[in-house]
Symmetry: C2
Amino acid sequence: MDTDKVFKALGDPTRRRLLDLLCDKNGQTLGQLCENLDMARQSATQHLGILEEANLVSTVRRGREKLHFINPVPLHEVYERWVRKFERQRLSLLHDLKKELEGE
Amino acid sequence: MDTDKVFKALGDPTRRRLLDLLCDKNGQTLGQLCENLDMARQSATQHLGILEEANLVSTVRRGREKLHFINPVPLHEVYERWVRKFERQRLSLLHDLKKELEGE
DNA sequence: CAGATATGCAGGTAAATACCTGCATGTCAA
DNA sequence: TTGACATGCAGGTATTTACCTGCATATCTG
């Protein structure tokens, strides 16, 4: 997994909205997704391309349409390899501050 | 929590590195963090400012030094409100594809 | 086939971003 | 107090990014 691509992809509100839309109804076409976006179709295409690059979205062509499917795996991996690392520490800001100010 | 600030902050590899460094040893000074970064001190200051804006890092001054502490709460909230939403769906790409191609 | 529909592709631009240099300020320690 | 040290602040620049418009291609439908 390319961690950087995933985080960069999630760093834009439009792309998070796209994932939300796909979460509500998976397998939507580009046109359907655009109806909820308030920007040119071509812009949405670029965002979807970035999500696809990050492997957060997969696509299949059906005739002249392109169907978009959300892929939750990278999100789970981000959580497993990244978020939990910090949670595991059970870092208490106040506790650390106290120790630090007391000269450890 | 400002979700956008958190995701934007996490979208840069230098800032993720800073969080990693603080995870290894909490409460480091700006100078200490810079030793591991290979960029000008002033650039690191900007990155740390963005992390602080996103509430991912808190700081305390001790004399002429500034101590940096990681705050795991926004990461946990990102997970709770965002990542789990997609996991909960138990989205199976192949399953969805099959349904879609069969005309639902 | 012809027209409508869905998407792809090629630039172009304004704003945001990630760096930098130079200098100022504040704190410690002899 | 004075010099060393840690950080703050003010720009400047090159790259990236998020939009756009215009046109091309492919597919369905009558």
